[in-house]
Structures are given as C-alpha cells and as structure tokens.
Amino acid sequence: MLEIGTLLMSSGATTNRVRVTVNRVSEAFGYNTEMLITNRAITLALSHDGKQEFFNSLKRTSPHGVNFKIVSGISRMSWRVVEENWTISQIKSEITRLKALPPYPRLLVLALVSLSGAAFCRLFDGSYVEMLVAFFATFAGLFVRQESVKLEFNPYLCVFFASFTASMISGFFRKFGFGEGMEHAFTASVLFLVPGVPLINSFSDLIDGNILNGTVRGINGLMIAFAIALGLLGAMAIYRF
C-alpha cells in the first residue's frame, strides 16, 4: 500500500488521486485505510471491520522526477485489483514491472524536447534561424540537466546549470551572430525547464482543500522558476545585454 502511495506521490499525482487510489486497493482486500499524506512522507493506518488488529506504518517518498507512465499504470492496476481479485503477490510483481518500465531512449528525448524548444520559438513569432538556435540551446541545456541529475546535484542547482547553459548558447548567437531580434530564441531556450507539473498540481491540491501539500508544491515550483531566472540572469550579466 505504502509503496503505491509513495510511488504515486513522487511521480507527480495530486494528493487526492493518491488517497483515492490507495483506498480503492485496500477496500478490495476488505480493509479501511486512513492516511496522512505529506510531500515527503506518507503515514497510513489499516484496520479491518471485524478484527482487533491494526497496522500502522510510515514511509518516505523518494524524490524522483515526474513519470506519468507510473501514475497511469498504477491507476489502471487499482481498477484491475478491484475487478479481477488480485492477490498481494500479483500486485507486487506489477509494481516492480511498472518501476522497471524503460523510459524513452535518451536521444529521442533530447531530440523531441529540442524540437519543442524550436516550436516555442516559432510560437513567439521567431524566424527559422532563431528556431535553429533555440533547438541547439535546448539540446545542450537538457543534456547538462540530465548529466547533473546523474551526478546527484541539488535539483534546483541542476535546473540552474541547465538554464545557464541554454541561455549562454542562445545568448552567444544573440551577442555575436545575428544582432538584434534573437530575443525569441533566448527566451524560448529555457522554457523546457518550466515547472508545469508542480504548479498545476499545486493548484489542484489547493482547490481540493489539501492546502499544506498545495503550498509545498507551489513553493517548489517557485524555487524552480527562481533557478531558471538565476541562470538567465547569469548569462545576461556575462554578455552585458
């Protein structure tokens, strides 16, 4: 149970979704669950109607990145648990399977995210040359982010490195290459770091009444935004725009 909850929380589900899903699974086994869900840990108490036994446990959530494959996989599994009367071992093997699901190949991720950087640039009415610059800046930025995540830097520092790299590259072209009008590439090159999931989840949590979790997520999003701005500022200070 705890494993399900913490996995959901760390891969980007809203508080309410965690509660609903865990309840669904535990009811399938005839247990009542009460939970205290916070951003970094989940406390859970299981009880059975007819029995005196009571199970209590606490688990920390691991600070993983967003992974929607796990969110949708577990949500699907919880329905199948209810309908097909799964056993505990079946659930366990399904969870290990979901955890082991391979992410998209790294090159594909890099290429497509860079493409989306270029698309952003076009949406801001940039020219095709700017799109090319945005593509390469995003590529380098994301590469740096992946590498620094691997080296286990502080997550905000990773974002800072990425935004600094991306804006240094696009800023280079703006400063020396093509004169005025490269602003769009400069802006678009850091947009791939935008903390969309924390901010939108924060809002859903706040509306739901999970004020504490919503606030925590919102501040997390603001910190990321601040790190992006810091990277931009660093590049701008160096190039003296």
Partner: protein
C-alpha cells in the same frame, strides 16, 4: 491564408507539447492525443486573441477546452486526465511576458536614474501581472473541469466496467 496560419501554429503547438509529453514520460498510447489537444487549445487561444478577446480570457478558454477534452480522452485511453492535460497546456505558458518582466526588474534595480523610469516600471508591472495571471488561468482551466467531473466520472467508469 487565415486557415493556413492557424494550421501552422497548431502544428507548432502540437510539437511543443510532444516534447513535454516525452519529457514527462507519458505512456506511448497517449502521445498523439496530447499533441492534438495542445494544438486545439492553442489555436483556440490564438483565434480568440485575434478576434479581440483579452489574452487572459483566451488562455482560460484554451486551457478549459484542454481540460474538458482530456477527461473524455482519459475515459477512452484509461489514463488519468492529468496525463493529457499538463503536457498539452504547457505550450501556452507566457514565456515572453515573464522574460520581459525579469528584464524590467533588472533595469529597475540597476539604473534608478533612467529618464524613462516610470515607463519601465509600468511596463514591468504589467508584464509581470500578465505572466502570473495567465499561469493562474491555465491552472484553473485545467484543474476545474477535473474537479467538476470527478464524482460522476468515477461512478461512470465503474458502471461501464461492470457492464463489460
């Protein structure tokens, strides 16, 4: 000519969302829908802005469209609506406004004796407020449809599944 313009922008919206979908590691079966949703929402916003609505209301409309459609999509594809709506709504993030606001803030703090100080000040405030409010509009547009349909949708799924 008009249609071609919207079509082109729509494609770019779709591609931008595609990148984010991959970045967030969504299940492969949902990727296409994410792009289509993003294109529809983005084009809706562009159309409304061109026909005279404020960018704020247009963003809200675009995000709500994505939110409502993502619920429908989640029923068909058996994935939480969040998986569709978040990558789809991100291409609408007000990057330029935020950038201009930060630029303005730096200007304000570094040269307080500039002759056009008040002009920069008003520009910065307006850009910053626009950025914040558009972000909020996007979040509301995506979150509210999910909340409205939650109770009914859960029951609905149950009934359908039992029927099978």
């Amino acid at each position: 000519m008009e249609y071609l313009f919207y079509l082109e922008k729509g494609i770019w919206f779709g591609l931008a969302a595609l990148g984010f979908a991959i970045l967030f590691n969504v299940p492969p079966r949902t990727i296409l829908i994410v792009s289509i949703l993003a294109a529809m929402g983005g084009v809706t916003r562009l159309y409304l802005v061109h026909s005279g609505a404020s960018i704020l209301m247009a963003s809200l409309a675009g995000a709500s469209l994505i939110g409502v459609l993502s619920i429908q999509a989640s029923h068909n594809k058996h994935a939480p609506p969040l998986v569709f709506s978040i990558p789809a709504v991100i291409p609408m993030v007000p990057g330029v406004f935020a950038y201009q606001a930060i630029l303005g803030l730096i200007n304000l703090s570094t040269n307080p004796n500039a002759p056009d100080y008040t002009q920069i000040l008003t520009g910065t405030i307006s850009n910053g407020l626009n950025a914040i409010f558009i972000l909020m509009a996007l979040a509301v547009g995506v979150a509210v449809p999910m909340l409205i349909t939650r109770k009914t949708s859960a029951k609905h799924i149950k009934i359908v599944k039992k029927g099978n």
